[in-house]
Amino acid sequence: MPILRFLGVFMLQVFVFNALEPGFGIHIMIYPLFIALLPFNNNVFSMLTISFFLGFIIDIFSNTFGLHSSAALAMAIARPPIYNNFSPRDGYDNLKLPTILRMGFRWHLVTFGPLLLIHHLWFFALESFRLDELFFTLKKTFLSAFITFIVCMILQYIFFKKEKSR
C-alpha cells in the first residue's frame, strides 16, 4: 500500500524523528526509505514527482523551505542508475518490493546505502552552504546516514512480512 507507506513515513518523520535530537549533529531522515521502496518498474517521471511532493510536505512541517524536496529529488534521480547497476543477472522481479527482506542485506547495503549518502550529503551541504564547514558537514552526513540506515532496517523488519521460501 504505497499511500499508507507515504502517510506512515511522513508521520514518523515529522512527529517522531524531527523531534529526536541525538546530538553530534545527527538528524535522522527516514523518508528516503519510501523512495527506495517504490516499485522497480516505477516511471522516473512519477518517481521524481512523488519525491518532490514528499519532500515538500516534510519541508512545510519542519521549516526547511525546500531543502528536503531538493535532497529527495537528488536521491530519486540517482535511484535508477544505482538499481540497474546492481540488478540480478535475470533482472528484477517487478512484482516484488525492494525491501531488505526480499532482496537481502547485501543488496540493500550497496543500493540504499549510497542513495542515503547522496541524499544526506546533498541535504547537509546545501544547508550549511560553505566550504569552511566541510569537515563538520561530512561528519554529520556519515553519522546521520549510518543511524538512518539502521533505523530504516529496523522499520522494514517491523512493517514488512517475510516472504515464504519456495
Partner: protein
C-alpha cells in the same frame, strides 16, 4: 528543429529533474535570504494545528521542570514588590518623583516546534499576528534570550533563534559593560561566541553576558550566558569569546515576545544620523 526535439527527448528526465530542483532551491534561497510568504512553513495554519496537537502531548513531560522555572521567576518578582520592603527609619520618606511610562510589553507564548541541529534553527510559537506578534520582535524565556520573530501568520509565528548563522545580537559583558556581537558556530547548541571585543580588554571567566538593548528589540539586561573561555582569532586583535548559553534550547517551552512600545520613537530619532556615519 528535429535535433532539438531529439535532444529534449533524450534528456527529458534530466530536464524535468532540473525543473523541479530549481523550484525547490528557489524556495530555499528566497526564504533564507528574505521571508516572503507565509504558507509552506510551520506557521501555516494546517501544519501549525498539527504541531500544536503534537505539543499537547509532549508538554506533559516537561510540566515539572516548567513549574520549577515559573516558581523561581515568581519568587524573583515577589522580591521586587513594595510590600516586601521594610522602612528602615521613620524619618526617611521615599518620594516617587519620577513619572514612569511603560516601555516594553510582553506576550506569553509556547514553543510548539523547534530544531537545534541545523545550521539555522527556527522555533515555531503558538501565538501569531492576532495576538499582536510582529516580525522583528524579540523573544526570550525565563532563562535567557531566544531569538527574533522572523515570520508571522494569524495564529502562529516563526522565531529565528540565536542558534543561527547571522543572529548578531548586540550584547554586553559584565562587569565593564564592553559590548560585542553574538554569533553561533553551528555545532554546539549549548555554546555561542561573542566577537568584536579587543584583545587588550581582560575578561574574567564566568562573567555574565546580557543583552545591550541597543536596537530596541530587547530591553537591556536579559541574560544570554556566561563567559567560558577566550580564544584568540588569528590575524585579528579581537577575542573569540566562547559563552555557555544560560537557556538550554533543547528543552525550551515557555517564551515571551517583547513588544517595544517606543520602537517608533527610537527609529525616528536614529533616522536623523547623517548617512556618512552609518555603515
Amino acid at each position: 528543429m528535429r535535433n532539438l526535439i531529439a535532444f529534449l527527448e533524450r534528456f527529458k528526465i534530466f530536464i524535468y529533474f532540473i525543473f523541479l530542483q530549481v523550484i525547490a532551491l528557489s524556495f530555499y534561497f528566497s526564504y533564507i535570504s528574505y521571508p516572503r510568504g507565509q504558507f509552506l512553513t510551520s506557521t501555516w495554519a494546517i501544519s501549525g494545528t498539527f504541531l500544536n496537537f503534537q505539543n499537547d502531548f509532549i508538554k506533559f513531560f516537561h510540566l515539572e521542570e516548567n513549574n520549577v522555572v515559573l516558581q523561581q521567576e515568581n519568587i524573583r518578582l515577589r522580591k521586587n514588590q513594595l510590600s516586601n520592603y521594610v522602612k528602615i527609619s521613620s524619618e526617611l520618606v521615599q518620594k516617587n518623583d519620577t513619572i514612569y511610562k511603560q516601555h516594553y510589553d510582553f506576550i506569553p507564548g509556547k514553543v510548539i516546534n523547534s530544531t537545534i541541529t541545523r545550521r539555522n534553527n527556527y522555533f515555531t510559537l503558538n501565538i501569531g499576528s492576532s495576538q499582536g506578534v510582529r516580525v522583528g520582535m524579540g523573544v526570550f524565556s525565563d532563562n535567557g534570550v531566544v531569538g527574533i520573530i522572523y515570520m508571522t501568520s494569524r495564529y502562529f509565528s516563526l522565531v529565528k533563534s540565536v542558534l543561527s548563522e547571522n543572529s548578531n545580537l548586540d550584547v554586553e559583558i559584565q562587569p565593564t559593560g564592553i559590548h560585542g556581537y553574538l554569533k553561533w558556530g553551528g555545532t554546539n547548541p549549548q555554546r555561542g561566541s561573542v566577537i568584536g571585543i579587543s584583545t587588550d580588554i581582560k575578561l574574567k571567566k564566568n562573567s555574565l553576558v546580557y543583552t545591550r538593548g541597543g536596537s530596541g528589540i530587547f530591553p537591556k539586561g536579559i541574560p544570554i550566558g556566561r563567559v567560558e573561555k577566550l580564544l584568540p582569532i588569528e590575524g585579528k586583535p579581537i577575542w573569540d569569546v566562547v559563552i555557555k548559553f544560560s537557556q538550554d534550547y533543547r528543552s525550551i517551552q515557555n517564551v515571551y515576545v517583547i513588544k517595544n512600545l517606543m520602537q517608533e520613537e527610537q527609529k525616528k530619532l536614529e533616522a536623523n544620523i547623517p548617512a556618512e556615519n552609518k555603515k
